[in-house]
């Protein structure tokens, strides 16, 4: 549908690391009892993944699930599959106290890749990326705004922030990854 536009329309920048806006991604904020068996089933039904441990992201065949707080998860799926995933969550959690809200359009989604991608992120996020492994997830700060970042199974970093500050986040990451500014640690 031509009416759909992501925050930055897939913009890219390449310095010593590459920063790409990934277009529209499906995201659902899910709050509830993370330890319940209904939650485990809901997550499995919607994504094929497991409920992630604290500060982790778990990967499934149809999406991934990130730990946001002791009672909140972020479910990541294809944009087109958001409604289906939400319906699956609601079906499995029927009768439970929970909240599932689509937030796909409230976010911008970036990938930061390259051998020294962690250095670019370390300039703007107070996170120890030297010890960051695939499946690690942090909800933190990127310069002056909130952001969440994780490492995928192929070693890239992915990051989400609020849509309204997508341009700021892109500009900050582009600056952090500028050619000639590698820290080399």
């Amino acid at each position: 549908m031509s009416n759909l536009v992501s925050a930055l329309n897939g913009v890219k920048a390449k310095g010593f690391a590459e920063v790409s806006e990934l277009g529209l991604s499906g995201m659902i904020t899910l709050r509830g009892d993370l330890a319940s068996k209904e939650m485990a089933k809901a997550i499995k039904d919607a994504t094929g993944a497991k409920v992630p441990a604290t500060r982790k992201v778990s990967f499934g065949d149809n999406g991934s699930v990130a730990w946001m707080s002791p009672d909140e998860l972020l479910v990541l799926v294809d944009y087109a599959a958001t409604g289906e995933a939400k319906a699956a969550l609601e079906a499995a959690l029927a009768g439970q106290h929970f909240l599932a809200e689509v937030v796909s359009d409230a976010r911008a989604h970036f990938r930061i890749n390259g051998d020294a991608a962690h250095e670019a992120l370390s300039k703007v996020m107070p996170v120890d990326f030297s010890a960051f492994e695939a499946g690690d997830f942090r909800r933190s700060r990127l310069s002056q705004v909130a952001a969440a970042v994780w490492k995928t199974e192929n070693g890239d970093f992915e990051l989400v922030c609020f849509r309204s500050v997508a341009q700021y986040v892109f500009d900050v990451l582009k600056t952090a990854a500028a050619e000639g500014s590698r820290v080399s640690v």
Partner: protein, 1003 residues
């Protein structure tokens, strides 16, 4: 003459010459030079003028402690004042100029101050500028402003970039001398992740210059081997040109990396500020040599003995052909020996100790150097350059025994450990009676969250002076650091060092000890700020007993070097005058940064476009394309109005309002806060948060609500929609979205944790567009889809469905008094929906309107605005909004406060409308005075204007105001002052100016 020797200079690459300029003069140096060593190689001893007396100032040190050699560096966008020549690496094309003189460095008119110096003692400014009172403004302040500061302020925008870097290590070792290298090596052995940083460009510190054997190898070889071992360890990170700037709570370290100061044309940032979390911090920061206080010790050519040695051994530079060494310890003999070995003359070593030194003295004597023990310098001869010294008995009052011709003086008053980083976070010091210096007290270090000491001083920074002791101490520090971070402490032996038999130093705080007042007035403590022994003594006489007060009274240690050379000498002088032991007087506070760091590095990447985040709605680009005039609303930029070419803002607002009231307008309302509240207890929760009843709201309907804090004051308002039995969507003000979200979570997490309610902030999920005006329904019907008729979607209700191709939720709500829909679509469809509305609305002349038109239209309708009609002291009752306060509810936030006598009484300022008799607009923010004065002699006030606008609809000025018992005074005429001193008459009227019965919105 200072000059370059034909040989020597372990830090130099003589194969690579470098050109630079000083005060426009073209000079040559070598790779490896600092600006200071290169200036000295070109006989440029004079580098600046002191702050107060404009005395000629020469280079006195070779490192971070240098007080004198501050220069303006670079040009244009790379210009920076107060750069220390001793820590500035030479690069091709470097351009430096000297500071604080007029008309020239060689001839400075300000030096006349020096002749008047006896009339400008400590506290001169404080005493003089008190009287007469008028003179401050007209004479003293202009004079001081002219004199303030050493360097010039940059005129152009900084051309360089800067950045931060967050790093995490088990152990951070600060200082890359032999102690730091050894401590890092030992700490890393057990597997700890170690960062070792060195402020200079090269490793090894003093040991490389001073020589010595370590484990049977030269110091240079030891450094090279240790470095190789550290480089091979993947757990170890090594950085040069990086200073430990500060130590803070919880093992936080600031590292200041000067990435490109030595290569200003390379790509990338100039400075990088490392923000490091460390398990343990090892401070191997070495020691700084102290000057001696004798008359004329500030004349260019008088230098620290260690600096003279650095220049000869490290840079192949001689300070003079004939150098007199003056000392109270054995270390300075190394300078005499180094000079002699370089083929230079040392006419005499003046040793203040009656018994002289140990083995080094014998070595000097064997080289044929004359040693005078029990002697001191009575005064240094010369003006802009040393020409000789007058020798006296140290025990006497300064009677000259002999004059010795020389062109340089190398002085040493002993060594002070660099305890700054140890002390930044509260580490305490002990006075060492043997070495006569302050050293860290291991039992009273800075402690972390577990109560453990997290800073370990190592090497000379911990007190030991001899190479063997330094390495033994550093080895222990490394082991301790490993142990504290939970790594196995390997048994490591300290390297073996042949010990040199050194005689004890003797404290010499004044030379000669009985120096006359005249000599004391020429014995400098602080070179940059011109503080002499006589000034500190005067401060003590005048009752300044605290070292902190003396510092501020005399300005001792307040210059850009922060007293690195002057502090200990100054406080010892104070202690002597107060007849108190030195530790009883104590030190001033050591505060970060260790030496000044650039403002750019503190700002990091936050400049230009990314100085701060700007929040953009999905329609922001369109607003920019239309040249909207933006206003900041929190971090959002919202269009204030959309002026056409040549149109004033006022005219644009008028046009936008007229168009909207008469046909069709559109507003980008995406910034409004949208909070989803869900759960079995959601209704109960909202009943507590809002003053009115929300739990009774029917699914599909909307209700306007007010939120108060516990003190009863209004904090936010907005429309609540009930989505289903368990779910509400609460609209907040634009600025309130994050605040109210936090407010809700606060109550849910801290007070009502057992209520089953979840909140999610979906503000940015939705683009929200207000479609407003008599043709609003028509344009939506034109797009097609959901039934938006008065019957299908009555006022204060909402429906989900499609409008055109768009997934929409339509709210029938109005903040303008017109027929109005607010349509929410997913943000990714927002721009397309906006465009579709613009196209469909063309036949109705559709125009977007901005926040000012929004404000004027709501004021015409008498609607309040949070932040205009409220200011944190206003309760809903003040705004006549009793109708929005439930009387049925047992409780809500603010209820109890609103029942207090002062709140419940009618004796308050309350909201009314104001209509000027002449139709003019009342000034924004005007106060409404009443007769008489209050107890403080101020005019009594009976109210204030909260909103005031020109109303295009009514073609007159309208206003809202909080007026004392306002609603009881309808029809009364008030006098309201204007900025020009006149006043305007306004009548108290109802606050609703337009369409009181709501006929326009209910169609």
């Amino acid at each position: 003459m200072s000059t370059r020797l034909s040989t020597g200079g372990s830090l130099l690459n003589r194969g690579k010459a470098i050109e630079f300029t000083f005060n426009g003069k073209r000079l040559k140096g070598f790779e490896g030079d600092t600006l200071a060593s290169a200036l000295l190689a070109n006989d440029q001893m004079l580098v600046g003028r002191s702050f107060k007396y404009h005395r000629p100032r020469g280079i006195v040190a070779s490192g971070a402690e240098e007080p004198n050699a501050l220069v303006n560096l670079g040009e244009g966008g790379k210009f920076e004042p107060n750069q220390r020549a001793t820590t500035t690496e030479l690069f091709h094309g470097l351009a430096a100029t000297s500071q604080n003189h007029w008309p020239s460095l060689e001839f400075d008119i300000g030096a006349l101050n020096s002749f008047a110096s006896r009339f400008m003692p400590a506290g001169f400014y404080y005493k003089t500028f008190l009287f007469p009172r008028f003179a401050w403004k007209h004479l003293f302040e202009p004079f001081i402003r002219q004199a303030a500061g050493l360097g010039k302020a940059p005129k152009e925008r900084d051309a360089d970039t800067y950045e931060h870097f967050y790093a995490f290590y088990d152990v951070v070792v600060i200082g890359g001398g032999v102690a730091g290298l050894q401590a890092a090596k030992v700490a890393a052995k057990g597997g700890a992740k170690v960062l070792l940083i060195e402020q200079d460009a090269s490793w090894g510190g003093r040991a490389v210059i001073d020589g010595g054997e370590i484990d049977g190898k030269s110091a240079e070889d030891f450094v090279a081997e240790t470095l190789n071992e550290l480089k091979a360890n993947e757990n170890v990170t090594l950085r040069t040109r990086m200073m430990g700037a500060g130590v803070y709570d919880h093992g936080y370290v600031l590292g200041y990396e000067r990435v490109a100061d030595h290569a200003p044309n390379q790509n990338g940032p100039r400075h990088r500020l490392w923000r490091i979390r460390a398990g343990q911090i090892v401070t191997a920061t070495g020691a700084i040599e102290r000057p001696l206080s004798f008359a004329g010790n500030d004349i260019p050519g008088v230098m620290l003995a260690s600096a003279v040695r650095d220049y000869v051994n490290g840079y192949g530079v001689s300070i003079g052909d004939r150098t007199v060494v003056v000392t109270n310890n054995d270390d300075a003999y190394r300078t005499a020996i180094a000079l002699k070995n370089a083929g230079l003359e040392v006419p005499a070593i003046i040793d203040a100790r009656p018994a002289g030194g140990g083995a080094l003295m014998e070595e000097a004597k064997a080289l044929g150097i004359r040693v005078e023990t029990g002697k001191g310098i009575a005064k240094v001869k010369g003006g802009k350059r040393v020409t000789g010294v007058a020798i006296c008995a140290q025990a006497g009052e300064g009677s000259v025994l002999e004059e010795i011709k020389c062109d340089a003086v190398a002085m040493s008053g002993g060594w002070s450990p660099v305890v700054h980083l140890w002390s930044h976070c509260g580490g305490k010091l002990n006075w060492d009676e043997v070495q006569n210096h302050f050293a860290p007290d291991a039992a009273r270090g800075p402690t972390n969250q577990d109560g453990d000491v997290f800073v370990i001083p190592a090497g000379a920074a911990n007190g030991p002076i001899s190479l063997g002791d330094v390495l033994a101490d550093a080895t222990e520090a490394g082991k301790q650091a490993a142990k504290m971070v939970g790594k196995p402490a390997k048994s490591v032996k300290a390297p073996k060092v042949e010990s040199v038999d050194e005689a004890a130093m003797e404290p010499v705080w004044l030379m000669p000890q009985g120096a006359s007042a005249k000599l004391r007035a020429k014995s400098w403590l602080d070179y940059q700020n011109d503080v002499k022994v006589s000034d500190v003594r005067l401060a003590a006489q005048e009752g300044y007993e605290s070292v902190e007060h003396t510092k501020r009274y005399t300005t001792l240690g307040m210059a850009t070097d922060q007293g690195k050379l002057s502090n200990i000498n100054g406080l010892a002088t104070l202690a002597g005058q107060l007849n108190a032991p030195i530790p009883a007087v104590g030190t001033t506070t050591f505060r970060p940064p260790y030496t000044p760091i650039s403002m750019g590095s503190i700002g990091g990447e936050a400049r230009g476009e990314i100085f701060q985040p700007i929040r953009r709605t999905p329609i922001h680009d369109w607003h920019e394309e239309q040249n909207a005039f933006f206003e900041p609303v929190g971090q959002w930029r919202r269009p204030y109005c959309f002026p056409k070419a040549g149109e004033s803002h006022a005219d644009a607002v008028k046009r936008e309002i007229n168009q909207t009231r008469n046909s069709l307008g559109m507003l980008d309302a995406s910034t409004l806060g949208k909070l989803v509240v869900k759960g079995p207890d959601a209704g109960k929760f909202l009943d507590m948060l809002y003053t009115n009843m929300m739990s009774t709201l029917k699914v599909g309907k909307c209700r306007y609500g007010l939120m108060c804090n516990e003190n009863g004051f209004l904090i936010d308002d907005g429309v609540v929609a009930r989505i289903d039995e368990e779910t509400f969507l609460c609209h907040t003000t634009t600025g309130g979205a994050e605040r109210i979200h936090g407010w809700m979570e606060d109550w849910l997490q801290c007070e009502w944790w057992d209520w089953n309610v979840y909140v999610a902030n979906v503000t940015e999920q939705l683009a929200q567009i207000a479609v407003v005006g008599p043709n609003a329904r028509k344009v939506l019907e034109k797009l097609g889809g959901m039934d938006v008729s008065a019957e299908a979607l009555p006022f204060m209700e909402w429906r989900d469905g499609k409008i055109g191709d768009f997934d929409a939720r339509a709210y029938r709500i109005s903040f303008s008094g017109e027929l109005s829909y607010e349509i929410a679509v997913p943000a990714s469809q927002g721009r397309a929906f906006w465009d579709a509305l613009l196209a469909a609305g063309e036949e109705f002349g559709v125009m977007p309107y901005g926040t000012e038109a929004l404000h004027v239209m709501r004021a015409e309708k008498g609607f309040i605005m949070i932040g205009d009609e409220t200011d944190g002291t206003v309760i809903p009752q003040d705004l006549n909004m009793q109708w929005a306060i439930s009387k049925k509810k047992e409780d809500f936030l603010g209820k109890r406060a609103q029942e207090r006598a002062h709140m419940a009484s009618g004796d308050r300022w309350k909201l009314v409308g104001l209509e000027t008799l002449d139709g003019s607009v009342i000034p924004d923010g005007a106060y409404i005075p009443s007769s008489g004065d209050n107890a403080n002699g101020q005019r009594n006030v009976q109210g204030r204007v909260t909103s005031t606008y020109y109303s295009p609809t009514l073609d007159r000025g309208i206003a809202m105001a909080l007026v004392h018992k306002g609603p009881d005074r309808m029809g009364e005429v008030l006098d309201i002052p204007k900025l020009d001193g006149t006043s305007v008459k306004a009548r108290i009227v109802d606050q609703v100016f337009f369409d009181k019965d709501g006929e326009k919105q209910n169609v």
